[in-house]
Structures are given as structure tokens and as C-alpha cells.
């Protein structure tokens, strides 16, 4: 048996390259949006918003490449699983780009209220979401299934973190601090950022699942951890 490269495999390699570019773009958008928020960096926030069309265009490009390969080459087995995962990943990556934009928009608005700083919980959530996205993308690229499982398992912790943040953001009844309009607004922005981060985590978990499906051929989505580990 001699391995050889067919036209189909050249096309699949090209598609994979474009998908990896989209992965890098989406990750970069999230990184920049978070830095813009943490550092109050307005130009960086603007850059994220302006750059989003690149990610949208990549989604379209990947869609048509994948559809054309499906229609013309009727791939099977791992090639088919790769294509299905790619189509699903492109959807999640595009949404991640949108969440980065909404973080960047908050960064601009929070900017106008300079004396308020981001809460420690929000900074923690930011770390967790960024790390999850990075891990999911690595799991996909390197077909690292333990890493994929780890990302897909972390969703519960993130929800807890968000709930804690929500709780801490509300003024306690015995608090002496004046509940100013400015403070309320700041809280609102923080909650919206938290929402965006939680959604990014959710999309990262999806990506981990797509990676798992591509490699193992089975869905991780509705499987218990024990089952996923046992196989």
C-alpha cells in the first residue's frame, strides 16, 4: 500500500489551512478585546470591531470550499468527518468573533467612565474563557482528545463563576456605598462582558466537541464523562 496525494486531499489541506487562519483570527479578536477592556485601550477595541468582517468573510469562504468538496468529491470516513467538523467550527468561530466585538464595544463604553475598574471575578472569567478557547483550538489542531474532554467538562465551573459575578455585582442591602447611576451602568457593562465571555466559553466547548467528533467519529455532546473516558 503506497500513500499518495489526490486532488481531493490537496483541496482538504487547503480547507484546513483556511480554517486554521480563521481559528487564529477568532482567537486574536478575543485576546485583543480582552486586553482593550483591561487596559482601556480604545484604538485596540476599535481595531477588533473593524476587523470582524475578515472573520465573516472567512466563514463564507470556508462554507463554499466545503460545499464544493462535498458536492464534487463525495468524501467518506475521516475526510467526511473533517468536513462536517469544519462546517460546524466555522459557525462557532464566526460567533466568537461577534462576542469579541461586543466585548470591544463594552470596552469603549467603560472607557468613558475611567474611575471604575474591572472586578476580580470578571478578570478571572476572562482568563478562563481565553484559556478554554486556546485549549479547544489546540485540541482540534493537534487532535488532543484529553484536552478536548477537559474543555468540554469545564462548562459548569464557568456558569458558577458567572453566577458569583452576578451576585457580587448587585449592591447588598446593608452596603453603605451610594448606588449611583454611574455605578449601575458600570455593573451593566460588566455583566454584558461576562455574558459574552460565557458564550465564548460555550463556543470553545463546541469546538472541543467538533474536534472529538472528527477524531473519534462519535458525538461527545450527549455523553456522560464516564462514557467518554471509558471508550
Amino acid at each position: 500500500m503506497t500513500a499518495h496525494d489526490t486532488h481531493l486531499h490537496t483541496q482538504l489541506t487547503h480547507l484546513r489551512t483556511r480554517l486554521l487562519v480563521m481559528c487564529a483570527e477568532a482567537r486574536e479578536a478575543v485576546e485583543r478585546a480582552c486586553i482593550a477592556l483591561e487596559e482601556g485601550n480604545t484604538p485596540l477595541a476599535v481595531q477588533v470591531i473593524d476587523h470582524d468582517h475578515t472573520i465573516n468573510a472567512l466563514e463564507n469562504e470556508i462554507d463554499s470550499l466545503a460545499l464544493s468538496i462535498l458536492a464534487r468529491a463525495q468524501p467518506v470516513a475521516r475526510d467526511l468527518r473533517f468536513l462536517v467538523s469544519t462546517l460546524r467550527m466555522a459557525v462557532d468561530l464566526e460567533r466568537i468573533g461577534d462576542e469579541a466585538v461586543s466585548i470591544a464595544e463594552r470596552a469603549l463604553l467603560i472607557q468613558q467612565d475611567k474611575d471604575q475598574c474591572t472586578s476580580p471575578q470578571l478578570r478571572e472569567l476572562m482568563q478562563v474563557a481565553r484559556r478554554a478557547l486556546q485549549s479547544a483550538l489546540t485540541a482540534f489542531q493537534q487532535e488532543d482528545m484529553p484536552l478536548a474532554l477537559q474543555v468540554s467538562r469545564g462548562s459548569a465551573d464557568v456558569t458558577q463563576l458567572e453566577v458569583r459575578l452576578l451576585h457580587d455585582s448587585l449592591p447588598s442591602p446593608e452596603s453603605a456605598e451610594p448606588n449611583s447611576y454611574g455605578r449601575q451602568l458600570h455593573t451593566m457593562h460588566q455583566l454584558l462582558v461576562a455574558r459574552a465571555l460565557t458564550r465564548i466559553y460555550g463556543r470553545a466547548a463546541n469546538i472541543a466537541e467538533h474536534a472529538y467528533f472528527m477524531v473519534e467519529g462519535t458525538s461527545l455532546k450527549h455523553k456522560t464523562h464516564a462514557e467518554a473516558q471509558g471508550q
Binding site: M1, T2, A3, H4, T6, L8, H9, Q74, P75, V76, A77, R78, D79, L80, R81, E216, G217, T218
Partner: protein, 255 residues
């Protein structure tokens, strides 16, 4: 016609030799009734050889030898008491190249019935019509049954050969690359009739066309160099094959 075949074939540890050449190694494979099984694999891997074992067509080649057991509906087809002519009626065959007799369309299909002792003209006429319908060619030939079969197109000739095989009401139909010489429309017609036919019979099809195997079969068996590498449900085999060799073959990574 309306009777459903419940005949399956079971093969166990089949070895096949062309004189000294060991062409099949220890093949054990079950063909469930009323299902389509596709045999795939690179050229020379033994698909046709294996198919021909199933109705003893290899007997016609001098110097060949079969070992192991092949059971049709539980009955050993290599038993000395077995009537080979009757076996080939029960297990029909369609070849790669359509091979109609140089006779009328009607006679091509009626021939097997007459050989099997049927003399009643009305009954022969009914069964010819039924067979032509099941092979999805009736509409195209009903007005010219007395014309020569050689005047039909390749795709029509192939469906006529399927009708000829079906006329004697086999329980199993063996097809060796039945559509490889046909255009896409004729191929589609044959594939459609395969879907229809399996409610009546068990079908085993050899094909080089991976997409065809994926489209028509319930089970797929992958052969490589005379051995059965993998066998399973077509859905599974084409989405997540168990063996790397199978994966490499169906994704076109070797050949």
C-alpha cells in the same frame, strides 16, 4: 413474485485456489436475507472469485479448489448431492458486460423459464412481463418485445439481463460490477431497481465505485489481497471504519 426470500448465505473459512495460486484466505462472511451487501477492494483482491464461489461458477474453471463451507439457507452448496443447475436458478448472476442472447427481447427473458420446464404460454408471458417490470425496463420495451435484444442500448441490455436473471425467481442475486459500463442515468436506474429488489431477494454486488457501494448497500465488505479486512454496516464503514486499511482505501489514500 410476492413471496419474500428469506434465504441468506453463510460462508465459513473459505479458501480458494486457482491451481497453486491461493486467491482467497479464510473468508468468513454472512449475507443476511433481503439485504444488499457490497464487496469492495482493489483490483485483483478476489471479489469476483468470491462471488463466483457463491453459485459455483468457479467449477467451470479447471484446476480450481474450494475449502471451507458455504451454506445457502443452511444447506451446503458444495455437497455432492446438490443439483448445480437448481443452485444457479436459486442464486442468479449478472455480469459486468451485458450479455443478451441474439434473440428477441421476449425470448431473452423467457429462455430460463422454458429451460426450467415451463410451457404454458400465458404464464410465460405473465412472468416475462413481471420480470421486465421488476428490472425497471418494461416501459421502454413493452411495445417492441419481438425486436432483437441487440438493438437495445447498453443500459437497457443490462436491465434486460437483470430481468432474465429475475425471471426464474432466484432467492439471491449476484452482481459483478453491473453498472461499470453504463452512463449515470442507466446506473441510477439499476441502483433504483436494486433498492426495489431487495424486498424479494438477497443481493450481493461487487463494485469499484465507492459511492455506489455507499448508495445501494446495507452492508459492505472490504477485501484486500484475498482476505476479508473489514465487514460491517455500510453506514458505519463509510463514516468511521474500524481498520486503518479500510479508511485508507475508501478515502483514496492508497491504490
Amino acid at each position: 413474485m410476492t413471496t419474500q426470500s428469506n434465504t441468506g448465505i453463510t460462508t465459513k473459512n473459505v479458501q480458494f485456489y486457482y491451481s497453486k495460486h491461493h486467491a482467497l484466505h479464510d473468508v468468513s462472511l454472512d449475507f443476511p436475507s433481503n439485504k444488499v451487501t457490497a464487496l469492495i477492494g482493489p483490483s485483483g483482491c478476489g471479489k469476483s472469485t468470491f462471488l463466483r464461489c457463491l453459485n459455483r461458477m468457479n467449477d467451470l474453471i479447471p484446476g480450481t479448489r474450494v475449502e471451507g463451507s458455504i451454506l445457502l439457507d443452511g444447506q451446503d452448496i458444495y455437497a455432492s448431492s446438490l443439483d448445480v443447475v437448481e443452485l444457479r436458478r436459486r442464486v442468479g448472476m449478472v455480469f459486468q458486460r451485458p450479455n443478451p442472447f441474439p434473440k428477441t427481447i421476449f425470448e431473452n427473458v423467457a429462455y430460463g423459464l422454458r429451460v426450467n420446464g415451463l410451457a404454458n404460454q400465458t404464464e410465460i408471458g405473465d412472468r416475462v412481463e413481471a420480470a421486465l417490470k421488476r428490472a425497471a425496463i418494461w416501459q421502454e420495451v413493452k411495445d417492441r418485445l419481438d425486436a432483437s435484444a441487440l438493438g437495445l442500448s447498453g443500459g437497457q441490455q443490462q436491465r434486460l439481463c437483470i430481468a432474465r436473471a429475475l425471471a426464474v425467481e432466484p432467492e439471491v442475486l449476484l452482481m459483478d460490477e453491473p453498472a461499470s459500463a453504463l452512463d449515470p442515468i442507466a446506473t441510477q436506474k439499476i441502483e433504483e431497481s436494486i433498492h426495489e429488489l431487495k424486498s424479494h431477494l438477497t443481493i450481493i454486488i461487487v463494485t469499484h465505485n465507492m459511492q455506489q457501494a455507499a448508495r445501494v448497500s446495507d452492508y459492505t465488505a472490504f477485501f484486500y489481497m484475498g482476505t476479508l479486512v473489514e465487514h460491517g454496516e455500510t453506514d458505519t464503514l463509510f463514516t468511521r471504519p474500524a481498520k486503518k486499511q479500510t479508511e485508507d482505501y475508501i478515502t483514496g489514500r492508497f491504490g
